[in-house]
Symmetry: C2
Subunit: 333 residues, 2 copies
């Protein structure tokens, strides 16, 4: 492999001068700089990032841990985060956790190993009980899901308020028997329990009765999960005319399941999701949803960790909540 030494020898300078040229140190004579650059070119030299990382104590890499990249919500978030980070000269490593607590912790460990300068963690499996494990000595931002009040920055989605608004939207459109399709896995507080809370509050404030038979839990927030929830709901015989879905992906699955059972959306049942993934704009019918402003979330997450990397030590851990708006489309027309 071609090293800096080789370049230095070829250019007749010290390795330090090569390093200075590469790092745009100003006090290098033009003639020397040219000679070094020519040698670099001739030999096809490339810096060895591992060596630079070791010496500099930084990796210029941000970790982003998500349950699954192939879920549109996370894919679209990842895309935004990558775009913003790479504009600032940072690479992004995506770790897939499968929403598993152990894997989420192992992403944190990776960062402790100095693999990443910072970690953005979309935590699902971690609970309030793990709060102490989050007391880390590198910049970290927790995204979205569970509430923490922990020792790190946390960007929350408007879970309660968003679902509250979504449920109110269905009520305003005329639905009275409103079901909710949500996750059933971990201990509260989590996304499902929070959004459930918003749903219940909206029903109560509108004087609509809550029927436990209309609450459907699914193990995974996927298309398949949504479809089977819809089938169970229809097959149960319980009457319903609206469904609040915990995510858009689930909602798309729900609409498919309703279609399979001959239930029309929105004529028989109104459906609303949460997340505003792009697919919802193109589904048939188009999906109404809660749009939590992902651009804001991604930008804030990246900016927060970059500021901490830059050495903003004054920073106190804070809790942010993204703004949102209800997007009314065909599925609740």
């Amino acid at each position: 492999m071609v090293t800096m030494q080789d370049v230095a020898k070829a250019a007749g300078v010290s390795t330090m001068t090569v390093s200075n040229v590469l790092n745009h140190y100003p006090h290098v004579r033009d003639e020397t700089r040219d000679r070094v650059l020519r040698a670099i070119d001739d030999l096809g030299y490339r810096v060895n990032v591992a060596a630079r990382n070791l010496r500099a104590g930084r990796t210029n890499t941000i970790g982003f841990a998500v349950p699954e990249v192939d879920r549109p919500y996370f894919g679209q978030l990842a895309s935004r985060i990558i775009a913003r980070a790479s504009a600032a000269g940072y690479r992004v490593v995506i770790e897939q956790t499968g929403a598993d607590r152990e894997n989420e912790l192992s992403a944190i460990v990776s960062s402790r190993n100095r693999m990443y300068d910072a970690l953005i963690l979309s935590a699902v499996g971690l609970g309030t009980a793990d709060r102490e494990l989050l007391r880390v000595d590198f910049p970290m931002v927790i995204l979205g899901e569970t509430v923490f009040e922990g020792p790190v920055d946390h960007i929350a989605l408007p879970n309660v308020e968003g679902t509250f608004a979504a449920t109110r939207h269905l009520i305003a459109r005329g639905s009275r028997r409103i079901a909710i399709v949500e996750g059933n896995d971990s201990l509260p507080p989590n996304v499902s329990s929070l959004r459930h809370g918003g749903y219940i509050r909206a029903l109560r404030e509108s004087g609509v009765e809550f029927d436990p038979a209309l609450s459907i839990g699914i193990p995974e927030l996927t298309l398949a999960g949504g479809r089977s929830a819809a089938e169970r709901l229809v097959d149960s015989g319980t009457a319903f005319d609206g469904i609040v879905c915990i995510t858009d992906t689930v909602a798309l699955g729900v609409m498919r399941g309703l279609a399979d059972r001959g239930v029309r959306v929105p004529e028989d049942v109104r459906v609303i999701g949460f997340d505003a993934i792009e697919e919802g704009e193109y589904s048939i019918p188009r999906l109404s949803t809660v749009d939590p402003d992902h651009d804001e979330v991604a930008a804030l997450a990246v900016d927060l960790v970059l500021r901490r990397i830059a050495g903003d030590t004054e920073w106190q851990p804070r809790e942010f909540v993204s703004s949102f708006r209800v997007v009314a489309r065909e599925s609740t027309a």
Copy 2:
């Protein structure tokens, strides 16, 4: 920061013994191992990956360069690749190239910088002309798109054959005026030109006339692109009863555009896509498609680079073509 030296001192051994414990070197006395482990625990020591990478000359990281992670096709491919690579102890860094030639080249440069032990590149912007730039000294696999015959391993999708089969499928179901929605950006050979070839051949072999007015080019293979293509097609007034779409994502957009114009699928027009993304199983109507066996592609890609990393120097660059099958669903019923 706690280093190996600190642990060694605390445990009263040399750093090499600490290293041996960490790397499961068998010939360490139990008592010594325990002492070291206790010291590691007490001090909260973590290996420094940068140092290990430098010394070992490996990073245990594979780069995966894709146009966009948020396109379902790439997200689902990435997920499979990550899963398989991490089973072998490798991390995956995703680089987003935006299908841009410069960015694809810069992914190659990153690997030259020894950031990745290998690179899996979903090349779209690179063309046959860039063949020489692919002559690299690290394991690399090119995925999917353009044909190369270059100096690296290449896993191609069954572009011609798959589209041929898709078109024949439409013909078998009764379509005769078959449109194609494809990309219009770069120079052939590329995905679009190859798939176009399969389409033309199927028409010819079936004695169906090709009408250039039924060939719609779009700048980006997105949902929005598909929708606008469908609108243009309907608005042009040309009669058609089938559409071959270059990807499933485009097909979903096309179906939305047709619905907006009051055209029914499959009653008025049959639609088939390519890729077998999960969303197509849940769309309304369900999308028929060409399924190129992504599991096979992902597994092959990872296994190829791992074998090369492991030092299989005998390896000759090869061209693979994934197997495929036509999945008939509601959109061509």
